[in-house]
């Protein structure tokens, strides 16, 4: 078996990432600077964290479209608790995460008890959470968060705090997926729900867990975004759900469920970050950026499919 091919298939997402990095460093001398690379990480971290949560739901064979609205809602509520109610920042942040988990559980509840398709249940939640955000903020941003909160949008030395949080989420989620019964059951459920049910896997609990986790990471994303903007925005993160799904898919997950890793998803988010940053540095107009982004997205997926197919054929041959 061709060793290189195998590695290429396993890490095709990373290869695409590498390819883009090489391309852009040729196109712009400023791309490969340390500072710029840190920028990209900083810019992609929030998306990556939210996308890791979405990856959980996608592995289970579902999807979570509510994350963008949840980012806005949890950001607004944590900010509101601090600014309007004088709650200490750490408690407000924990509260926001709790709220995210809770709404995730509500999503999961609609799916497992209400038997709604995940796509629609979370689509409805997307509208509801956005509405709640507008209602809560009365349409105005909330600022004046204090140093503790905004520190999460800053750096420690040269390293963005968001990147450290991402690292933590990446490690935690990898352990959950690869080493815990919950993780194994999540994959099993996504691979063949009927079999998982017959094996006595607590399907409902596992699904609830996946959506709760996604809600939690969305809340974490909401906090980081708010910290980064020093204010909570009622219209924050509109459309983030599609970006998160795109990152997950670029990272090798299957929308059919049963496959995906958080490392892959982080690489997917970085691909999108590198693309946006690189196109900005090379000065491509914003309209054309969309054309290029759409095209590269499709090409990347084709490449990923192609390397995987090679690998599968090798495996069988």
């Amino acid at each position: 078996m061709n060793r290189v091919g195998k590695i290429a298939a396993k890490y095709s997402t990373l290869l695409i990432l590498l390819g883009l990095i090489i391309l852009f460093s040729l196109l712009s001398p400023r791309f490969l600077r340390f500072g710029n690379l840190l920028n990209i990480v900083d810019q992609s971290s929030m998306l990556a964290i939210v996308a890791i949560g979405v990856t959980f739901t996608i592995i289970s064979g579902g999807i979570d479209l509510s994350v963008g609205s949840l980012v806005a809602l949890t950001g607004a509520i944590s900010a509101g608790m601090i600014v309007n109610m004088g709650v200490p920042a750490p408690i407000a942040m924990l509260g926001a995460i709790l709220l995210g988990v809770l709404i995730g559980l509500v999503n999961g509840g609609f799916i497992v008890f209400g038997r709604l398709q995940p796509f629609v249940a979370t689509l409805a939640m997307m509208a509801i959470a956005r509405g709640l955000t507008l209602f809560y903020t009365q349409g105005s941003p909330i600022s004046g968060l204090g140093d503790f909160y905004t520190a999460f949008g800053g750096t420690i030395g040269p390293i963005p705090v968001t990147a450290l949080v991402l690292l933590f989420v990446l490690l935690l989620s990898t352990v959950i997926l690869q080493s815990t019964p919950f993780g194994a059951h999540l994959y099993a459920l996504g691979g063949n729900e009927e079999t998982a049910r017959l094996a006595g896997v607590k399907i409902r609990l596992v699904k609830l867990g996946a959506y709760a986790f996604s809600g939690g990471t969305a809340a974490l994303g909401g906090i980081l975004l708010t910290a980064r903007l020093w204010s909570a925005q009622p219209q924050a993160a509109v459309g983030l759900e599609l970006q998160a799904i795109a990152a997950t898919v670029l990272g090798g997950a299957s929308l059919m469920g049963g496959a995906g890793t958080s490392l892959g998803t982080v690489a997917g988010a970085l691909i999108m970050g590198v693309l946006a940053n690189g196109l900005n540095l090379t000065g491509v107009s914003s309209y054309v950026q969309q054309v290029i982004t759409g095209t590269i997205f499709i090409l990347a997926v084709i490449l990923d499919m192609w390397t995987k197919r090679q690998r599968r054929e090798k495996l069988q041959g």
């Binding site: 920028n39 349409g139 105005s140 600022s143 903007l229 020093w230 009622p234 946006a276 940053n277 914003s286």
Partner: protein, 281 residues
């Protein structure tokens, strides 16, 4: 750092626009671009697509590119603050256009005042309907500063006038299609409407379509905001009574000229108002 990388070593200016999906800002960008071409300055434009997170990233990227000055049209005055401060710490001068920044060091702010514009529209509308009657407010995307400020200005006037009542205040998200549908629905509920104010021209143009289709356009006074080409044409045709002109081209070019002057060592005012103007027939 801080020196531009234009081939001839000339000035490079970064412009961050809140969204290029709206003709208003496209015109603003064009104004800046024309001025830049005239002055022989390189202009790099990035588009936040109304997303403050994207804006933060874009401005980071502009700083990476080593622009000499930043011209920012923020998606939101609060959300842009960390970006302004980041530029400040890199020693890059910041200028804001159309919308301001709540804090941070901004060399100059070039804009027309949206609250004042809302008041201007309100005053015109009240007078046009003869000092009393029922009016409708079509609001912009909830949570955006333009919607907030224009609504505030409008309500400052209308709310103070006990003879005028706002019978419906609904959002049509700065969008023409929604302006059409939402106003169509409002027409059903309100048999008596004397005037409409919309937070931008897109919505008012949609509303006019709805009223014309319902045969009620002649009874209603329409006032918009922005004076985009379509709206100015509608004013000329007499379909639209008035629109508040913000002169985005002027905002863009003044912003750019101000930045260049500053970089060339001149002193500039910290607030450069671009006068609002009511466009009527």
């Amino acid at each position: 750092e801080g020196q531009g990388e234009a081939a001839d070593g000339g000035i490079v200016i970064g412009l961050s626009v809140s969204t290029l999906n709206n003709p208003f800002f496209v015109t603003l960008r064009d104004g800046a671009q024309d001025a830049a071409d005239l002055l022989g300055v390189e202009l790099i434009v990035v588009d936040s697509q109304d997303d403050p997170a994207r804006e933060a990233s874009n401005i980071q990227d502009l700083i990476q590119r080593g622009v000499d000055a930043l011209l920012i049209n923020p998606t939101d005055s609060d959300a842009v603050v960390p970006s302004v401060q980041r530029a400040n710490s890199e020693g890059i001068p910041v200028f804001t256009v159309d919308r301001g920044a709540s804090s941070g060091d901004v060399v100059a702010h070039v804009a027309s005042d949206n609250v004042a514009g809302g008041e201007m529209a309100g005053e015109y509308l009240v007078e046009a309907i003869g000092g009393s009657g029922s009016v409708v407010e079509l609001q912009g995307i909830p949570g955006t500063s333009a919607a907030r400020d224009r609504g505030e200005g409008f309500n400052n006037i209308v709310g103070a006038n006990s003879d005028v009542s706002v019978v419906a205040a609904q959002t049509a998200n700065f969008n023409r299609t929604e302006g059409l549908n939402v106003f169509q629905n409002i027409l059903q509920a309100q048999s008596d409407i004397d005037g409409v104010f919309a937070h931008n021209d897109e919505m008012i143009l949609g509303a006019i379509q709805a009223a014309e289709a319902a045969g009620r356009a002649d009874d209603i006074v329409f006032v918009g905001f922005d004076a985009v080409d379509d709206a100015v044409a509608a004013v000329e045709d007499g379909r639209l009574a008035a629109t508040v002109a913000q002169r985005p081209e002027e905002i863009g070019s003044t912003g750019l000229r101000t930045a260049v002057s500053y970089l060339q060592g001149e002193t500039v005012e910290d607030y450069i108002p671009v006068a609002l103007m009511l466009v009527t027939q």
